[in-house]
């Protein structure tokens, strides 16, 4: 077997090509941003999916969620978590990444060399999806969306209590909470249903649809009322409405009277971003790992070599090289 250290960048089992992760030996792309022959999909968020691929491969849950979102006209092959399948002699398997329902890390094993793509992941508790599974590897390609030590997440039940307080402290207002329709919304609903807030919860159609998909997949999601366009304004007083962030700007808000708005996102832990966001309030809750989370995964994975993408990889890399003596590698040109 060849000594892995001597390989050139082009010879890594997985590399960056045209801004996407690509495994040449298997001729397979991971979450490609343009149509390709074969694509592994880590999870069903739209920034990880593109139309027009000949074949998609994902977990069962991701496939179902994707079909709910984009229709049945895509060809998806599915595998269970942990189930190994072979492409061109490479063993590939999905493992829970804790990001949203169905989300996965993807492991490649070839000639006894292990590669792990973290996908989007978090370690925090989330009852609406499988808990992150620790997978050991030689090479780790990790996301680092929140790869700065200023990011440290609070327990999600604390955030849920803050949200509950925010609503109940303004009983004469309609509270609009903006969050991603898939994953974040369901996690929030699950957490909020365990707080003191017992008022009505309304959801936008896009969220309602995802709730139903989660329920079909056996996840317990609190029943909510789908928001109709001409709801009587008085009925909404004191209640919570979950909406996708795309509706926060523009005329949609005119459907409501006397509102307060908030955004649930990890970025809201920074005051400047919170102020700039235009929302009245920000709740810092994220489905990505915080700084400690990333470091923990890097260490526990026992990876000898680490790559980072999605985020401030420079800072995290420098830190790991300086403080932890971990070998951080860079793909040729990252986009």
């Amino acid at each position: 077997m060849r000594d892995v250290v001597l390989r050139t960048k082009q010879e890594y089992l997985i590399r960056y090509k045209d801004g996407n992760l690509y495994c040449e030996l298997a001729d397979i792309w991971i979450d490609p941003s343009k149509p390709v022959k074969r694509a592994l999909i880590t999870h069903a968020h739209f920034d990880h999916f593109t139309f027009g691929c000949e074949e998609y491969i994902s977990t069962k849950e991701t496939a179902i969620l994707l079909k709910e979102r984009v229709g049945n006209n895509i060809k998806i092959k599915t595998f269970e978590y942990g189930e190994e399948f072979k492409i061109n002699g490479i063993n590939i398997s999905f493992h829970p990444s804790g990001h949203i329902l169905g989300s996965s890390q993807i492991r490649f094993i070839f000639a006894e060399e292990k590669w792990l793509i973290s996908g989007d992941f978090k370690l925090q508790k989330d009852d609406t999806c499988k808990q992150y599974e620790l997978v050991k590897t030689d090479y780790l390609i990790s996301e680092c969306t929140f790869g700065l030590p200023i990011f440290k997440w609070d327990e999600s039940n604390k955030i849920a209590n803050d949200i509950s307080k925010w609503i109940t402290n303004s009983p004469d207002k309609t509270s609009l909470l903006f969050c991603y329709s898939l994953g974040k919304a369901q996690r929030l609903l699950n957490e909020i249903s365990q707080t003191n807030f017992k008022g009505n919860i309304y959801t936008h159609g896009s969220i309602h649809k995802m709730n139903n998909s989660y329920k079909k997949l056996g996840i317990d999601i609190k029943d909510t009322i789908k928001i109709e366009n001409k709801k009587k304004i008085d009925e909404l007083k004191g209640s919570l409405i979950l909406l996708p962030p795309s509706l926060s700007k523009g005329s949609y808000l005119k459907n409501f009277k006397n509102i307060q708005t908030a955004f649930a996102s990890g970025w809201m832990s920074i005051r400047a971003l919170r102020k700039r966001s235009g929302y009245d309030k920000g709740f810092p809750i994220s489905d990505h790992a915080d700084w400690d989370g990333i470091l923990e995964v890097v260490k526990k994975s026992e990876a000898k070599n680490v790559f980072f993408h999605h985020g401030d990889s420079e800072t995290l890399s420098k830190f790991l090289v300086e403080k932890e003596s971990i070998n951080v590698l860079f793909f040729g040109k990252q986009i």
Binding site: L148, I150, A272, K275, R276, D312
Partner: protein, 546 residues
Amino acid sequence: MSLKNFSELFVDLDSNNSTNKKIDVLKNYFLSNDPIDNSWAIYLLTGKSNKRFISGRYLKNLFSQIYEYPEWLIDTCYLKVGDSAEVITLLLKNKSTTRKKKLSNISLNELLSKTIPDLSKLNEEEKNLQIKNIWETLPEDNHLIFNKILTGTFRIGVSIGLITKSISKLINIDEEIISHRLMGNFEPSIDSYEFLINKNINLQELNSKPFPFLLANTIEDKIFKNSINDFQFEWKYDGIRMQLIKRSGNVSLWTRGQELVNESFPELVEKMSHIKDDFVLDGELLVWNFKEQIAFDFSLLQKRINRKSPTRSIQIKYPIIFIAYDLLEINGRDIREIKLENRRIELEKYFSKWQIKTENNISDIFKICDLIFPKDWPDALTYKEKSRENNTEGLIIKKKNSIYSSGRKKGIWWKYKVDPMQLDAVLIYARGGSGRRAGLYTDYSFALWKDKELIKFASAYSGLTNIEINELDKWIRKNTIEKFGPVRSLKPEMVFEISFEKIQISKRHKSGIAVRFPRITKWRKDKKINDADSLENAYKLMKKIS
């Protein structure tokens, strides 16, 4: 009472709540906390003191030392956050899991009257140890407040007005009275808070109340259909709008923002108190060039506004004048219902009387505004264009037969402002913003052509919409030539229309000129860099006006 309540108050006020909600939040805070904590809260929220006990840099170094964090990592975080106190607060959160000590539950009073001032009695080593100890025993929610007070950066979007309103609501007494009570050296103490919420009003307090200000509207074309003789014309000064009140011997200076500013301008208060009559004047406060009889730049006035009890030398260096343009009350008689032209007659009459009869000469600090008499509307336009020459912003046009009503009532007072000067310039540098704009490139430098070279002539950071800022930020990141710390030099490609109010020779700048209030008024995506203006055009602009 613990610091926790104040931290919660900060969070509530910092959320983008409605004014009414903020007032309620404040009112509830005052109701449920000790008088002493309340007085500290008022002291902090009104920015009465922003003493810096240690610098942001010191705080960052200390954290780096204690927790063995690389300084560059803290600096990187700072670029994202834009505030040292907040960076350290967020980083401390990451350390909280290693904390074992019992949490303290100190009050706002204890923190501000003892814990923090005591730090300056310690030597450096003890001080560092003490800060570390406080970090590790203070509940996490209080870190931001502590760090901000420590670094003298406690600022929040709460105006004195909001505090005034909430106290006013709390005890059901007029805002002007509370304003008056909040005036002066508000020293945090039980007494000062009790004085603030005292339900008995004394006569002097009643006497200081200003009238609601009448405000001017931007000019509309329909005015030109009227006869020019229906209007009174004045220069529009760029100073502080103010009501100067003297009742029962006491003088009070009120800004339009309902702030009592007696302490900033003691010489004016003193001089005016020699006048025998009682009165309410409406006018403008300016730093005045007595030699040329025109106003100095607003920037000089800024040196006076926020300085309480200015020294004699400051008073001489920045000599002020109050220019009255209206008389609203005379010897207890409210004359706001009298026509403007008649009020003007009264104003002139009393002014000459005061000039002769007042013991001390008042004309070195007080005058009434000169009127302008354009023949017709084109002539008025000529006056307006000339306004830069005497450092005014244009004209104020007032209907002669109008009464002094309140607010921005249409059709009574008009402002006819001179158009800004404009040049098209090329974006050449960008710098990261701080505070609310942290993490984005929002401070820009612009250049004009000199032969084949682009010479920097102005920096501006306002005028773009949030969407444009984001778009430009992306462009900047992709088109950086070089990075020098937080500054990036950029590929010359983007042209912007820059507007400004004034242009003058400056030896300090490479371009040889300095402009006032530069701001972006248009993103000229339609223009190529060769279409941008030259320095020569800027010089021409300067000649044209002087």
